[in-house]
Symmetry: C2
Subunit: 220 residues, 2 copies
Amino acid sequence: MAKAGVSSQLVREGAGRSGATKQILVEAAIETLKAKGFSGASARAIADQAGCNQALVFYHFGSVVNLLLAALDDVSNSRFERYSTALDQASTPTELVDVAADIFRKDLDAGYVTVLVEMIAGASSIPGLGPEVSTRIAPWTQFASRAISATLGDSGLGSMVPASQAAYGIVALYLGLEMLTHLDGDRAPALALFDHARQLAVLFQNLGGSPGTTKPKEAR
Amino acid sequence: MAKAGVSSQLVREGAGRSGATKQILVEAAIETLKAKGFSGASARAIADQAGCNQALVFYHFGSVVNLLLAALDDVSNSRFERYSTALDQASTPTELVDVAADIFRKDLDAGYVTVLVEMIAGASSIPGLGPEVSTRIAPWTQFASRAISATLGDSGLGSMVPASQAAYGIVALYLGLEMLTHLDGDRAPALALFDHARQLAVLFQNLGGSPGTTKPKEAR
DNA sequence: GTCTATACTTGGATAGAC
DNA sequence: GTCTATCCAAGTATAGAC
């Protein structure tokens, strides 16, 4: 919009100011995916959201799909970072559920998981997109697997259901809850599920789920 | 393609023959949604799949979205019918998991859930589509709720987690597993989860989950 | 790097012949 | 009911001015 004046100089700043059009486009792509879905995320719609020109999408990313993948990368990275620090605070199943519920609620409101869902669903439409998306989803499952192992890997349940497979289910549940929540615009049912999951976690701990390493704090 | 010869007469047959172009278009829409996703399900693509003309989409359904909704209706009805008969065979949690796993595997291979997923994800793109899709998803949750109530509604777990909320989670999991399976083209992880769910169901029954009404057959 | 302009393609939808 | 032909809107992508 406002001309830079500084001729042909790269302006590198962390946030807000112009110059980092690439990042602005990525953020606009995220917003557009959230608001209009995959098939609504055209170069024109994204550029409109970004407040810049449609041609810049192709200049910076080569194609719309590449921009969308960059958006997925951005979301994945930022979420992954956040999750990792949050995980360090959880050592018992109950704490894990608490942390997961807290993260889920914030992600739900922020619409981050919508980006994943739309990209996964949209992958059917474009040849070759599937593997690209799959690669970017993998860290989520791995993270969930680590989290599960860390909190109840040594318990009886952990030996029955391998962490990696439980993680697969958790990620699936995460995606499915996002879909339903987004569809109905009502996050209450999903959040209620986390309340019950917490109750079950408490029950599980009290039943002597993990007697060896960590003493359950919430025991009867 | 081959002209009917019978002038201006409605040919009503259950399957296969021409005349019921509407139904052919519906089935083509389902196939196209499965193969190319929501944003790939254009009037031209569907008509191509149906082997008929693109204008017929608008003649019979008025718009592409209406056809897609008709396709969703078709899938929902046929699945709902199938599930209802299958449910009658299950009275214990273990049997429920068995039935659910069997249904899920067949649906997965047939790609029926893909239609739901694509329509839910695509609902973001088109104003007003969300509620329409939501209405057609509701029976699935209701069905799951009934199934859960019927098998473990009277158990201790049933009193902890209301059936309607558990059903919400099950449907979400169902959708999420479909997404991941479809994305990776590998149904093994999802099927493995059902194996573990069955183990847990057996364990649950043996722990005296539902001692009152139905005697667990698989008890130690 | 960013804009305007434009070429090209695809898709939704309608009109009219058969 | 089905087809051809067509219009129009929207999308991808590129060329070239600034």
